[in-house]
């Protein structure tokens, strides 16, 4: 297992290096001058040159990339703006502060949203899918399938807007969506995040219901399940010990990718509920052409997906003994 993890983590680091190099090159090769954007209206050529020097963008792109990589591990000096401590992901000329600090400030909200909604959609989605598979062809199956079809065709901005209007503005049963750090006030955290998490979960729940159902239906018709039944094992035993384990593999894989994507920011959810997470940060950075921030967010998103994929591979191996670690 250890060898497996070491190999996968090494591979993940290489992938991240490639992603960062390509992204860095793409961002800095496009014809936009971060210094010009930072310089202001009454910018003089001297001031522009000074900003280019301060930001280190007067050097060749490979040197800039190397400096950026070194900054991640050792920090780096941005003359005039101060020292950016490790892990330094760059300096945002738009926000006038290190990229890493801003990302860390926005990340808790995004993590809350991702884990909160994941909890809901995993429990509801897998539960409903299991129920539908067990009651295949019956009313509950048809109900779950129909609801999941409706759910997957809804859009977050539509559901979110209607839910806010009804549950917050009209009926007042839920608080205005907001973010309070969990450590500061768990009750406020939960009440503020409830609506965004539920809204985001609706879309995912529908997908997981359909996926769980189809996987379970397929597994329940497999020979090994029939054999287990023939051996006289109880229905619950056959379902959970054999069919469920077999069905979970693909679901875990998709869950890893979904969660990784959510770590990169639930842009529409955050925008709908006016919340300031990684997704909004990415959109704002695009808006301001804040390339260092975009690079940081891109690396975070890519890192989350790569890391969760490694984790999923490990979990996959634990769930399904047929998967070889070596």
């Amino acid at each position: 297992m250890l060898r497996f993890l070491v190999r996968r983590v090494s591979g993940a680091v290489v992938i991240l290096l490639i992603i960062s190099a390509v992204t860095f090159w793409l961002f800095y090769a496009i014809p936009r001058d971060p210094a010009l954007m930072s310089c202001g209206k009454n910018c003089t050529p001297e001031a522009l040159a000074q900003i280019r020097h301060n930001l280190g963008i007067d050097k060749p792109i490979p040197v800039q990339y190397w400096d950026w990589l070194v900054g991640i591990f050792a920090g780096r000096e941005y003359s005039g703006y101060g020292f950016c401590h490790a892990p330094c992901l760059g300096y945002s000329f738009a926000n006038r502060e290190p990229v890493y600090g801003t990302i860390m400030d926005r990340l808790p909200l995004t993590l809350s949203l991702a884990f909160g909604s994941a909890l809901v959609f995993l429990v509801l989605g897998i539960g409903a899918g299991m129920l539908a598979a067990l009651k295949q062809g019956r009313f509950l199956d048809k109900l779950a399938s129909s609801l999941s079809l409706i759910g997957s065709s809804l859009q977050i901005y539509f559901v979110g807007y209607i839910a806010m209007f009804l549950l917050v503005a009209k009926l007042g049963v839920l608080d205005q969506p907001s973010y309070t750090p969990l450590t500061q006030n768990p009750v406020s955290w939960a009440s503020g995040m409830l609506l965004p998490c539920l809204t985001l979960a609706i879309i995912f729940t529908a997908n997981y219901t359909r996926m769980t159902r189809s996987q379970l239906v397929e597994q329940l018709s497999e020979d090994y399940v029939r054999t287990a039944r023939a051996k006289g094992l109880s229905r619950a035993n056959v379902f959970f010990r054999f069919a469920w384990r077999g069905a979970m593999g693909p679901i875990v894989t998709v869950f890893g990718i979904d969660l990784g994507t959510l770590f990169g920011g639930a842009i529409i959810t955050e925008t709908t509920f006016s919340m300031q997470g990684i997704g909004r940060l990415a959109v704002d950075s695009v808006d301001k052409s804040d390339l260092p921030m975009l690079l940081g967010v891109t690396l975070l998103s890519a890192g989350a997906i790569v890391f969760l994929n490694v984790l999923v591979d490990a979990v996959y191996a634990l769930i399904d003994p047929r998967i070889r670690l070596a």
Partner: protein, 588 residues
């Protein structure tokens, strides 16, 4: 003043944020532009506002108490954008000026009275200044008891440093008037190499400015937030933009750029030194990232902390303007004000040299369609002049029949083009990215093409828009822009934007107009000491420029801000054309 990228975005998104100085002062309970009136206010129906210069007694603190106001609580804000700048030297945008009123103080400032009027008074200075040599020498004596947020005294060295640092190379966004006028300013590079500027003299508690030209309005200029004080000891140069030092009633407790900022009380501020600021709430929590529609919906819902919220940037969303203004209950929570800003489209006179072609553009322009896109008459009034009707000096005229034909006159425009022999004239139009500006660009293209032009629309990146249109060889024929005076009168409108001496990369004469007659008229008007005569002269300059059709006036702004039901005394800060933060209180 010009608009930052951000302000222009707001403007093109219908909710116009503007510039310092004057305009109709009023409150949500009373006043000319008040929401309590059933009639929709119009810019041209509003009174011209002048700002008188106050006495020493007017400048003496504390600020008059607001009737019924209570101390304590928190006032929140729901806004889309954070501030680009907080270093006073870099502040030229109204909203940045407004949000920093509670923490920054300058030598002079605007005192808002209970009737919604305003007066120029001494802020850190004991009065609004003393003028000598016809305006070439100005002196200001500092009040006693002024302190920074760490409890240290504001020294005369700090005062001198605040003005000398305006010349540093990192200061690229703030106003440039004082730098231009101070004797020796052209060669001075700032105080960081230990050199002082001789034209700023310190004599005891008095600072004396020696100017290269007579400026009778210098004390108004110093009321701009861009000339607020900075402590020499805590000047962190470029980094100061992120965290300025306070000498006002509040100080910055925390700031997450683009997300939130909190002000808490500055215990070293003495209300006796301040005739401008009341400081009722214990705390201000500014929250960013709310689109206008989201903030409007939250104000309409009026739940929880939103009851204590107001906006600096965000106005009522165009989608909700009718709902809000036609509902008596909601309308009570709207502050409606006419603005001094005029939005216009400068025509690049170095590319479109024929005045007939420029006049044809004016005739063809679809003002009415553009007004509809912005949200109708409740949010703007079509413009025919560069001056706003509420600015002293405004003279009413309509050279291109826009009042009679606000939708444009393609027939007349076509005829003029034909006369000029320029049928099919190509026009490259530059505007910033935003939903509304795209819609407006389509309307403009359709109207101009109906008049015989060939139009190429160019949507530009918001973050570099003004840099791009500010280049001499920018390649654009028309550009979206806007301007409002930095203080009462025409100088701060016409000199920066229409004087031929102000053409250059990064300058605001986007039309690149260099007309000898206009240049002479601007110079003549700026030397007239008599206010009435000067105003008349500025009105004539406006007409002279429009006769040359150097721009297409688009609209004068009417602004509607909504707020929560528990925010008291929501009045207008005409100095910053925003809600007056230091007059608010949280109802108990």
């Amino acid at each position: 003043m010009s608009f930052s990228r951000r302000n222009f975005l707001i403007a093109t998104g219908m909710v116009a944020a503007a510039a310092p100085v004057l305009s109709a002062c009023g409150s949500s309970d009373s006043g000319s532009g008040s929401s309590s009136q059933d009639k929709v206010p119009t810019v041209s129906g509003s009174k011209t506002q002048t700002i008188p210069v106050g006495t020493k007694a007017d400048s003496t603190g504390p600020a008059p108490e607001v009737k019924g106001a209570v101390k304590g609580g928190t006032v929140y804000s729901l806004d889309q954008f954070d501030m680009d700048h907080m270093d006073p030297a870099q502040i030229y945008v109204a909203t940045e000026g407004a949000i920093t009123v509670p923490i920054l103080r300058g030598l002079t400032g605007y005192k808002i009275d209970e009737k919604g009027g305003c007066t120029l008074v001494g802020d850190a200075a004991t009065d609004a200044g003393t003028m000598k040599d016809g305006g070439k020498t100005w002196s200001f004596t500092m009040k006693d008891g002024l302190k920074w947020e760490d409890g240290s005294d504001i020294t005369m060295d700090d005062v001198r440093h605040s003005f000398e640092r305006l010349f540093a190379s990192f200061v690229t966004e703030g106003p440039r008037y004082v730098q231009q006028w101070l004797v020796g300013g052209g060669k001075y590079k700032g105080p960081y190499d230990g050199k002082h500027l001789a034209s700023i003299e310190i004599d005891g508690n008095t600072v004396i400015f020696r100017l290269s030209e007579a400026r009778a309005d210098f004390n108004f200029t110093l009321a701009m937030r861009g000339y607020s004080l900075v402590p020499k000891k805590h000047d962190t140069k470029e980094k100061y933009d992120k965290r300025p030092y306070s000498c006002g009633p509040y100080k910055i407790a925390s700031r997450q750029v683009g997300k939130a900022m909190t002000y808490v009380r500055n215990e070293h501020w003495d209300p006796k030194t301040d005739s401008i600021r009341n400081a009722y709430p214990d705390k201000y929590v500014f929250q960013f990232g709310f689109q206008a529609l989201a903030s409007t919906d939250r104000y309409i819902a009026d739940k929880g902390n939103d009851r204590y919220a107001m906006s600096i940037f965000n106005e009522v969303a165009p989608e909700r303007i009718q709902q809000v203004l036609t509902n008596a209950k909601l309308k009570q929570r709207v502050l409606t004000e006419v603005d001094t800003v005029t939005y216009y489209w400068p025509i690049n006179t170095t590319r479109i040299k024929d005045v007939k072609v420029r006049q044809a553009i004016n005739y063809a322009w679809p003002l009415q369609q553009l007004q509809t896109i912005r949200g109708g008459a409740a949010t703007s009034e079509v413009a025919t002049t560069i001056f706003s009707p509420v600015t002293p000096g405004y003279t009413r005229f309509d050279l291109y029949d826009k009042t009679k034909k606000p939708g444009g006159d393609p027939v007349k425009a076509k005829a003029l083009l034909k006369q000029a022999g320029k049928s099919g004239q190509k026009l490259v139009i530059a505007y910033q990215q935003s939903d509304n500006s795209v819609k407006q660009a389509v309307a403009i293209k359709n109207a101009l093409e109906a008049a015989g032009f060939t139009v190429v629309n160019q949507q530009l990146d918001k973050s570099t828009f003004y840099t791009q249109i500010g280049k001499i060889d920018n390649g654009y024929d028309l550009m979206a822009a806007g301007w409002s005076p930095d203080w009462p009168g025409g100088y701060s409108v016409f000199y920066p934007c229409w004087d031929g001496h102000n053409i250059g990369n990064g300058r605001s004469n986007y039309a690149q107009l260099n007309d000898t007659g206009v240049n002479k008229a601007i110079e003549a008007a700026s030397t007239i000491a008599d206010t009435q005569a000067a105003n008349k002269a500025w009105g004539a300059v406006d007409r002279q420029i429009m006769e040359l059709a150097a721009c297409v006036p688009d609209y004068h702004s009417i602004r509607n801000w909504m707020h929560g039901s528990k925010v008291g005394n929501v009045v207008y800060d005409s100095g910053n054309t925003c809600i007056a933060l230091c007059k608010l209180y949280a109802m108990s």
